[in-house]
Amino acid sequence: MQDQIFHLQYAMDTFYFLVCGALVMWMAAGFAMLEAGLVRSKNTTEILTKNVALYAISCIMYLVCGYAIMYGGDIFLSGIGLDGATDADALVSKVLTESAEAGFDGGSVYSNASDFFFQVVFVATAMSIVSGAVAERMKLWAFLLFAVVMTGLIYPLEGSWTWGGADVFGMFNLGEIGFSDFAGSGIVHMAGAAAALAGVLVLGARKGKYGPNGEVRAIPGANLPLATLGTFILWMGWFGFNGGSVLKLGDIASSNAVAVVFLNTNTAAAGGAIAAMILARILFGKADLTMLLNGALAGLVAITAGPDTPTALGATLIGAVGGLIVVLSILTLDKLKIDDPVGAISVHGTAGIWGLLAVPLTNDGATFYAQIIGALTIFVWVFFASLVTWLVIKAVIGVRVTEEEEYEGVDMSECGMEAYPEFSKS
């Protein structure tokens, strides 16, 4: 009887992991639509190409070596199918033994293959963040080369120090000092933003974005319905992102925690959207849809570091502060002439830092000291490793298209096809 319950619990927790992984996979579509909506139509094909290619590269690189770097084990996922056991029967008895050790309401026991599937879609999320920030002016193949390094080394190493539990270059251990990042405000989102920031600094602003006297010029996105659809897809995918990070569904305490995480994730996004909309109305005089979209996403990023501990009201406020921060961050980056067409650095970086710092407000197990050390560790490593990678790519093949290609649109120069060939360019 007990074994049968463990069979069911294993099945339920594995299935839950897989469904949440599929939800997070769908965030790739959200990023693709959001970015396609916020760039000009002449750069649509290229940004879609980047989004599909980076997802595929992330999956392959994490399979080749990323997962092994982050969590140990062998490269190419060898042996993952039977979780190290010799045959299927051995796997069953191994799982039953582990389940008995953990107890019915203890740690989660699930298929290792489902763990890989859930982890790999997080890598793709981190990489998707970079894509939007460097849009409309980067060479396609320079970006894809960076994706190989980011998903095969930079992110997995940083992940090994946090979720993997390894020491940071043998110096200190973030887990031991109490760093807490539930689903990855810092580990995934701020990491992606740090890589994006390094890329934007190497790449420079889009032509015409900043005037000679410091004026900031708007370059409106081509398709706000797509950007809105993308935001809603991300919002939905986030239930898998945060909900799945509970890691277990199969007992009362865990499934209640999952429900709380879903609730808090949703309400934080709503708080972020409303706060950003009101602030944009106050600052600009009108309701800026793109700020509203960024605000919802900033709310989601902010709650990701600790969706399990706040009350519903607390989660709403954490999201709302994220929504305020993202608007101010976008304006500040523009003043600094850091050109981010979709606001990715602000949404994932600035709101991600806020999310990490908000954890100790509701979680007694976390401290501001540990959160700051963790945030710095992730940022310094990802930013400088990315900077070096971008500079090497720049030296070898160059990172930026020519001025003429940028004017004509990277759809033609990089992909040789327009997204909307039946409409003339405006």
């Binding site: 004026e215 900031v216 010029r217 708007a218 370059i219 409106p220 944009a280 600052l283 600009f284 005089g285 009108k286 800026d288 793109t290 700020m291 608007v327 976008i330 304006l331 523009d334 606001g343």
Partner: protein
């Protein structure tokens, strides 16, 4: 005969068409156009950054009429297209030498 060309705000087109129909104008030609006047376009904000719309959308109406109707037509357009705000547009009147109805070959005021 006169050729009247009026540049008006797009949302006033229906009002102008009705006003012209009421005084017996038989046909007009409408074109969507863009341009600027003394107002020189206007600025909008996108993500906090200003962008200037240099050319504002307008509608151009052209109609050929008998000379006797000129004042009536100008009055009808001025009244129906007027909002009192900047950017209401302009009316230009030029002499029209000849008009031909292609189907019947009629010419002059019979053709307009």
């Amino acid at each position: 005969m006169k050729l009247i060309t009026a540049i008006i705000k797009p949302f006033k087109l229906d009002d102008v068409r009705e006003a012209l129909s009421e005084i017996g104008v038989q046909g007009i030609t409408v074109t969507e156009v863009k341009g600027f006047g003394r107002q020189k376009g206007h600025t909008e904000l996108y993500r906090g950054a200003e962008y200037v719309v240099d050319f504002l959308p307008k509608v151009k109406i052209e109609l050929a009429i008998a000379e006797a109707m000129t004042d009536q037509v100008v009055e009808a357009i001025s009244t129906s297209a007027n909002t009192g705000k900047i950017g209401d547009g302009k009316i230009f009147i030029v002499n029209l030498e000849q008009a031909v109805r292609i189907r019947t070959g009629e010419t002059g005021e019979d053709a307009v």
